[in-house]
Protein backbone atom coordinates (compact mmCIF):
# COMPACT_ATOMS: atom_id res chain seq x y z
CA UNK A 1 0.00 0.00 0.00
CA UNK A 2 2.77 2.39 0.98
CA UNK A 3 4.75 1.48 -2.11
CA UNK A 4 1.78 2.28 -4.30
CA UNK A 5 1.60 5.76 -2.83
CA UNK A 6 5.27 6.38 -3.55
CA UNK A 7 4.63 5.57 -7.20
CA UNK A 8 2.27 8.56 -7.30
CA UNK A 9 5.01 11.03 -6.38
CA UNK A 10 6.36 11.46 -9.95
CA UNK A 11 2.80 11.93 -11.17
CA UNK A 12 2.21 14.63 -8.55
CA UNK A 13 5.45 16.39 -9.58
CA UNK A 14 4.41 16.18 -13.21
CA UNK A 15 0.97 17.63 -12.51
CA UNK A 16 2.47 20.48 -10.51
CA UNK A 17 4.97 21.43 -13.22
CA UNK A 18 2.31 20.87 -15.88
CA UNK A 19 -0.13 23.22 -14.17
CA UNK A 20 2.63 25.83 -13.84
CA UNK A 21 3.50 25.77 -17.53
CA UNK A 22 -0.14 25.54 -18.59
CA UNK A 23 -1.04 28.80 -16.84
CA UNK A 24 2.15 30.42 -18.16
CA UNK A 25 1.18 29.40 -21.69
CA UNK A 26 -1.95 31.53 -21.62
CA UNK A 27 -0.52 34.57 -19.86
CA UNK A 28 0.64 37.51 -21.93
CA UNK A 29 4.33 38.15 -21.22
CA UNK A 30 3.94 41.78 -22.27
CA UNK A 31 1.43 42.41 -19.54
CA UNK A 32 3.61 43.28 -16.58
CA UNK A 33 2.15 44.00 -13.20
CA UNK A 34 2.18 47.72 -12.84
CA UNK A 35 4.06 49.07 -9.86
CA UNK A 36 1.89 52.19 -10.02
CA UNK A 37 -1.50 50.58 -9.43
CA UNK A 38 -2.77 51.80 -6.08
CA UNK A 39 -0.52 54.84 -6.13
CA UNK A 40 -1.35 58.44 -7.03
CA UNK A 41 -0.61 59.89 -10.46
CA UNK A 42 3.01 61.13 -10.26
CA UNK A 43 3.75 64.84 -9.96
CA UNK A 44 4.99 66.60 -13.09
CA UNK A 45 5.22 69.95 -14.79
CA UNK A 46 5.21 69.81 -18.57
CA UNK A 47 3.91 71.96 -21.43
CA UNK A 48 0.46 71.65 -22.99
CA UNK A 49 0.77 70.11 -26.46
CA UNK A 50 -1.73 72.48 -28.07
CA UNK A 51 -0.59 75.54 -26.13
CA UNK A 52 3.11 75.07 -25.28
CA UNK A 53 3.38 78.32 -23.33
CA UNK A 54 1.02 76.85 -20.75
CA UNK A 55 2.52 74.49 -18.14
CA UNK A 56 0.42 71.55 -17.00
CA UNK A 57 0.52 69.74 -13.67
CA UNK A 58 -1.62 66.86 -12.50
CA UNK A 59 -4.01 69.40 -11.00
CA UNK A 60 -4.76 70.48 -14.59
CA UNK A 61 -6.51 67.13 -15.11
CA UNK A 62 -9.28 68.40 -12.84
CA UNK A 63 -11.79 66.64 -10.65
CA UNK A 64 -13.34 63.24 -11.12
CA UNK A 65 -12.17 60.01 -12.65
CA UNK A 66 -10.50 59.79 -16.03
CA UNK A 67 -8.35 57.75 -18.39
CA UNK A 68 -4.74 58.57 -19.15
CA UNK A 69 -3.79 57.51 -22.66
CA UNK A 70 -0.12 57.41 -23.67
CA UNK A 71 0.24 57.90 -27.41
CA UNK A 72 2.58 59.02 -30.17
CA UNK A 73 2.48 59.53 -33.91
CA UNK A 74 5.34 57.02 -34.36
CA UNK A 75 3.17 54.30 -32.87
CA UNK A 76 1.00 52.43 -35.41
CA UNK A 77 -1.17 50.82 -32.72
CA UNK A 78 -2.02 54.30 -31.43
CA UNK A 79 -3.45 55.10 -34.83
CA UNK A 80 -5.44 51.89 -34.74
CA UNK A 81 -7.04 52.75 -31.41
CA UNK A 82 -7.58 56.44 -32.12
CA UNK A 83 -10.97 56.07 -33.73
CA UNK A 84 -12.26 54.12 -30.75
CA UNK A 85 -10.94 56.79 -28.37
CA UNK A 86 -12.93 59.37 -30.38
CA UNK A 87 -15.99 57.22 -29.88
CA UNK A 88 -15.40 56.93 -26.13
CA UNK A 89 -14.93 60.69 -25.85
CA UNK A 90 -18.27 61.20 -27.58
CA UNK A 91 -19.86 58.86 -25.04
CA UNK A 92 -18.61 61.17 -22.30
CA UNK A 93 -15.48 59.31 -21.17
CA UNK A 94 -12.86 61.77 -19.97
CA UNK A 95 -9.47 61.04 -21.52
CA UNK A 96 -6.26 62.96 -20.91
CA UNK A 97 -3.42 62.34 -23.33
CA UNK A 98 0.30 62.03 -22.81
CA UNK A 99 2.08 62.64 -26.05
CA UNK A 100 5.10 60.39 -25.53
CA UNK A 101 8.48 61.25 -27.06
CA UNK A 102 6.91 62.72 -30.13
CA UNK A 103 7.40 65.69 -32.41
CA UNK A 104 4.88 68.27 -31.15
CA UNK A 105 4.18 69.60 -34.66
CA UNK A 106 3.41 66.13 -36.01
CA UNK A 107 1.24 65.39 -32.99
CA UNK A 108 -0.83 68.55 -33.53
CA UNK A 109 -1.39 67.67 -37.21
CA UNK A 110 -2.45 64.16 -36.15
CA UNK A 111 -5.10 65.54 -33.79
CA UNK A 112 -6.37 67.93 -36.45
CA UNK A 113 -6.70 65.18 -39.03
CA UNK A 114 -7.92 62.27 -36.91
CA UNK A 115 -9.95 64.16 -34.33
CA UNK A 116 -9.10 65.03 -30.74
CA UNK A 117 -10.62 62.77 -28.07
CA UNK A 118 -8.52 64.32 -25.29
CA UNK A 119 -9.60 66.97 -22.81
CA UNK A 120 -5.97 68.01 -22.77
CA UNK A 121 -2.58 66.69 -23.84
CA UNK A 122 0.69 66.70 -21.93
CA UNK A 123 3.71 67.12 -24.14
CA UNK A 124 6.18 64.60 -22.72
CA UNK A 125 8.96 65.18 -25.21
CA UNK A 126 11.73 63.55 -23.18
CA UNK A 127 9.57 60.83 -21.65
CA UNK A 128 10.15 61.91 -18.03
CA UNK A 129 6.52 61.59 -17.00
CA UNK A 130 6.34 58.27 -18.85
CA UNK A 131 9.24 56.90 -16.77
CA UNK A 132 7.48 58.03 -13.60
CA UNK A 133 4.35 56.25 -14.78
CA UNK A 134 6.29 53.09 -15.61
CA UNK A 135 5.38 53.30 -19.30
CA UNK A 136 7.33 50.86 -21.43
CA UNK A 137 5.63 51.33 -24.74
CA UNK A 138 2.77 53.04 -26.46
CA UNK A 139 -0.15 52.87 -26.35
CA UNK A 140 -0.87 52.38 -22.68
CA UNK A 141 -4.02 53.41 -20.88
CA UNK A 142 -4.47 54.04 -17.16
CA UNK A 143 -7.70 54.32 -15.21
CA UNK A 144 -7.54 56.99 -12.49
CA UNK A 145 -10.20 57.22 -9.80
CA UNK A 146 -11.79 60.31 -8.25
CA UNK A 147 -9.05 60.42 -5.60
CA UNK A 148 -6.35 60.62 -8.25
CA UNK A 149 -5.21 57.04 -7.62
CA UNK A 150 -4.26 54.80 -10.53
CA UNK A 151 -6.51 51.76 -10.32
CA UNK A 152 -5.76 49.95 -13.56
CA UNK A 153 -3.28 49.84 -16.38
CA UNK A 154 -3.89 48.47 -19.84
CA UNK A 155 -1.02 47.77 -22.24
CA UNK A 156 -1.87 47.79 -25.94
CA UNK A 157 -4.68 49.32 -27.91
CA UNK A 158 -8.13 50.17 -26.61
CA UNK A 159 -10.84 48.70 -28.77
CA UNK A 160 -14.42 47.65 -28.31
CA UNK A 161 -13.53 44.24 -26.86
CA UNK A 162 -10.95 45.62 -24.41
CA UNK A 163 -13.33 48.34 -23.32
CA UNK A 164 -16.22 45.95 -22.80
CA UNK A 165 -14.21 43.19 -21.07
CA UNK A 166 -11.76 45.19 -18.99
CA UNK A 167 -11.84 48.96 -18.97
CA UNK A 168 -15.53 49.86 -18.83
CA UNK A 169 -16.06 48.27 -15.43
CA UNK A 170 -12.84 49.69 -13.99
CA UNK A 171 -13.76 53.14 -15.27
CA UNK A 172 -17.24 52.94 -13.79
CA UNK A 173 -15.87 51.74 -10.44
CA UNK A 174 -13.24 54.48 -10.47
CA UNK A 175 -16.06 57.03 -10.61
CA UNK A 176 -17.89 55.48 -7.68
CA UNK A 177 -15.12 55.73 -5.09
CA UNK A 178 -16.18 59.11 -3.75
CA UNK A 179 -19.77 58.09 -3.29
CA UNK A 180 -18.88 55.34 -0.83
Amino acid sequence: MNKRLILLVPLACFLFVGAFFYTALFSDPRELESALVGKPVPEFELPDLLNPSRQLTKQSFGEGHYLINVWATWCPTCRAEHEYLNKLAKLGVKIVGINYKDEPAKARVWLEQLGDPYVLNVQDYKGDLAIDLGVYGAPETYVVDTNGIIVYRHVGDVNERVWRDKLAEKYREAGEVNEL
Binding site: K3, I6, V9, C13, P29, R30, L32, E33, S34, A35, L36, K101, G127, I131, D132, L133, G134, Y136, G137
Partner: protein, 161 residues
Protein backbone atom coordinates in the same frame (compact mmCIF):
# COMPACT_ATOMS: atom_id res chain seq x y z
CA UNK B 1 40.20 34.09 -55.52
CA UNK B 2 39.37 37.79 -55.75
CA UNK B 3 35.83 37.00 -54.65
CA UNK B 4 37.11 35.38 -51.45
CA UNK B 5 39.27 38.38 -50.85
CA UNK B 6 36.32 40.68 -51.27
CA UNK B 7 34.35 38.68 -48.74
CA UNK B 8 37.14 38.78 -46.20
CA UNK B 9 37.52 42.53 -46.65
CA UNK B 10 33.78 42.96 -46.19
CA UNK B 11 33.89 40.79 -43.11
CA UNK B 12 36.73 42.77 -41.59
CA UNK B 13 34.96 46.04 -42.35
CA UNK B 14 31.77 44.79 -40.69
CA UNK B 15 33.69 43.73 -37.61
CA UNK B 16 35.32 47.14 -37.53
CA UNK B 17 31.95 48.87 -37.73
CA UNK B 18 30.50 46.68 -34.97
CA UNK B 19 33.38 47.45 -32.63
CA UNK B 20 33.07 51.16 -33.49
CA UNK B 21 29.39 51.26 -32.62
CA UNK B 22 30.03 49.33 -29.40
CA UNK B 23 32.62 51.90 -28.41
CA UNK B 24 30.25 54.71 -29.26
CA UNK B 25 27.63 53.55 -26.77
CA UNK B 26 30.16 53.39 -23.95
CA UNK B 27 31.61 56.79 -24.80
CA UNK B 28 28.17 58.36 -24.63
CA UNK B 29 28.41 58.20 -20.84
CA UNK B 30 31.63 59.92 -19.77
CA UNK B 31 32.69 59.63 -16.14
CA UNK B 32 35.31 61.50 -14.14
CA UNK B 33 35.00 59.18 -11.20
CA UNK B 34 36.04 55.56 -11.76
CA UNK B 35 33.96 54.12 -8.92
CA UNK B 36 30.87 55.81 -10.33
CA UNK B 37 31.63 54.39 -13.75
CA UNK B 38 31.92 50.91 -12.23
CA UNK B 39 28.62 51.39 -10.41
CA UNK B 40 26.95 52.56 -13.63
CA UNK B 41 28.24 49.56 -15.59
CA UNK B 42 27.11 47.19 -12.89
CA UNK B 43 23.64 48.74 -12.84
CA UNK B 44 23.02 48.72 -16.57
CA UNK B 45 24.01 45.06 -16.65
CA UNK B 46 21.67 44.21 -13.81
CA UNK B 47 18.57 46.17 -14.81
CA UNK B 48 16.23 44.52 -17.24
CA UNK B 49 14.61 46.33 -20.15
CA UNK B 50 10.83 46.22 -19.54
CA UNK B 51 10.11 46.58 -23.23
CA UNK B 52 12.33 43.81 -24.57
CA UNK B 53 11.68 41.28 -21.81
CA UNK B 54 14.94 39.40 -21.80
CA UNK B 55 17.74 41.86 -22.25
CA UNK B 56 19.57 44.10 -19.88
CA UNK B 57 19.24 47.81 -20.55
CA UNK B 58 22.91 47.84 -21.49
CA UNK B 59 22.26 45.15 -24.09
CA UNK B 60 19.13 46.61 -25.61
CA UNK B 61 18.75 49.16 -28.39
CA UNK B 62 15.14 49.97 -27.46
CA UNK B 63 14.32 53.63 -26.92
CA UNK B 64 13.14 52.91 -23.41
CA UNK B 65 16.41 51.13 -22.56
CA UNK B 66 18.25 54.27 -23.66
CA UNK B 67 16.00 56.43 -21.47
CA UNK B 68 16.60 54.19 -18.49
CA UNK B 69 20.36 54.22 -19.13
CA UNK B 70 20.22 58.03 -19.25
CA UNK B 71 18.28 58.09 -16.01
CA UNK B 72 20.74 55.68 -14.37
CA UNK B 73 23.66 57.81 -15.58
CA UNK B 74 22.05 60.95 -14.23
CA UNK B 75 21.33 59.38 -10.85
CA UNK B 76 24.80 57.86 -10.50
CA UNK B 77 26.41 61.18 -11.41
CA UNK B 78 24.34 62.85 -8.72
CA UNK B 79 25.75 60.38 -6.19
CA UNK B 80 22.86 57.92 -5.87
CA UNK B 81 23.77 54.51 -4.48
CA UNK B 82 23.13 51.30 -6.36
CA UNK B 83 20.25 50.54 -4.04
CA UNK B 84 18.64 53.91 -4.65
CA UNK B 85 18.77 53.50 -8.42
CA UNK B 86 17.29 49.99 -8.24
CA UNK B 87 14.62 51.25 -5.83
CA UNK B 88 13.73 54.06 -8.22
CA UNK B 89 13.30 51.62 -11.11
CA UNK B 90 11.35 49.04 -9.07
CA UNK B 91 8.97 51.77 -7.85
CA UNK B 92 8.06 52.48 -11.46
CA UNK B 93 8.44 49.20 -13.31
CA UNK B 94 7.98 46.62 -10.56
CA UNK B 95 10.35 43.82 -9.61
CA UNK B 96 10.45 42.74 -13.23
CA UNK B 97 13.01 45.44 -13.97
CA UNK B 98 15.64 43.88 -11.74
CA UNK B 99 17.28 40.59 -12.64
CA UNK B 100 17.47 39.67 -8.95
CA UNK B 101 13.91 39.51 -7.63
CA UNK B 102 13.48 39.98 -3.87
CA UNK B 103 12.54 37.05 -1.64
CA UNK B 104 8.79 37.38 -1.03
CA UNK B 105 5.74 35.13 -1.07
CA UNK B 106 5.25 35.48 -4.83
CA UNK B 107 8.87 34.52 -5.55
CA UNK B 108 9.28 31.66 -3.10
CA UNK B 109 8.91 29.08 -5.84
CA UNK B 110 11.65 30.85 -7.76
CA UNK B 111 14.09 30.99 -4.84
CA UNK B 112 13.35 27.76 -2.99
CA UNK B 113 11.74 25.64 -5.73
CA UNK B 114 15.02 24.13 -6.98
CA UNK B 115 16.03 23.20 -3.42
CA UNK B 116 12.60 21.66 -2.80
CA UNK B 117 12.96 19.57 -5.94
CA UNK B 118 16.44 18.47 -4.89
CA UNK B 119 15.11 17.51 -1.49
CA UNK B 120 12.31 15.44 -3.05
CA UNK B 121 14.82 13.73 -5.34
CA UNK B 122 17.15 13.05 -2.41
CA UNK B 123 14.36 11.53 -0.33
CA UNK B 124 13.31 9.39 -3.29
CA UNK B 125 16.87 8.08 -3.70
CA UNK B 126 17.17 7.28 0.01
CA UNK B 127 13.83 5.44 0.01
CA UNK B 128 14.74 3.39 -3.06
CA UNK B 129 18.18 2.43 -1.71
CA UNK B 130 16.73 1.43 1.68
CA UNK B 131 14.08 -0.75 0.12
CA UNK B 132 16.63 -2.49 -2.07
CA UNK B 133 18.75 -3.16 1.01
CA UNK B 134 15.77 -4.68 2.80
CA UNK B 135 14.85 -7.08 0.01
CA UNK B 136 18.40 -8.41 -0.40
CA UNK B 137 19.00 -8.99 3.31
CA UNK B 138 15.69 -10.82 3.72
CA UNK B 139 16.67 -13.37 1.09
CA UNK B 140 20.07 -14.02 2.64
CA UNK B 141 19.01 -14.66 6.20
CA UNK B 142 17.01 -17.77 7.03
CA UNK B 143 15.32 -18.48 10.30
CA UNK B 144 16.32 -21.54 12.35
CA UNK B 145 13.12 -23.26 11.28
CA UNK B 146 13.80 -22.62 7.62
CA UNK B 147 17.36 -23.89 7.99
CA UNK B 148 16.15 -27.08 9.55
CA UNK B 149 13.66 -27.56 6.70
CA UNK B 150 16.29 -26.84 4.11
CA UNK B 151 18.65 -29.40 5.66
CA UNK B 152 15.86 -31.93 5.66
CA UNK B 153 15.09 -31.31 2.00
CA UNK B 154 18.76 -31.56 1.05
CA UNK B 155 19.09 -34.86 2.92
CA UNK B 156 16.07 -36.23 1.10
CA UNK B 157 17.58 -35.18 -2.15
CA UNK B 158 20.89 -36.87 -1.28
CA UNK B 159 19.24 -40.13 -0.27
CA UNK B 160 17.35 -40.27 -3.58
CA UNK B 161 20.42 -40.10 -5.70
Amino acid sequence: MSFNRLISIGFAATLGLISLSANATIDAYPFQDESKEAEFKELINELRCPKCQNQTISDSDAGLAKDLKDKTYEMVQEGATKREVIGYMVDRYGNFVHYQPPVQSSTWVLWYGPFAFMLVAFIAIVVVIRQRGKTTTSTVELSAQEKARLDELMKKDDSKS
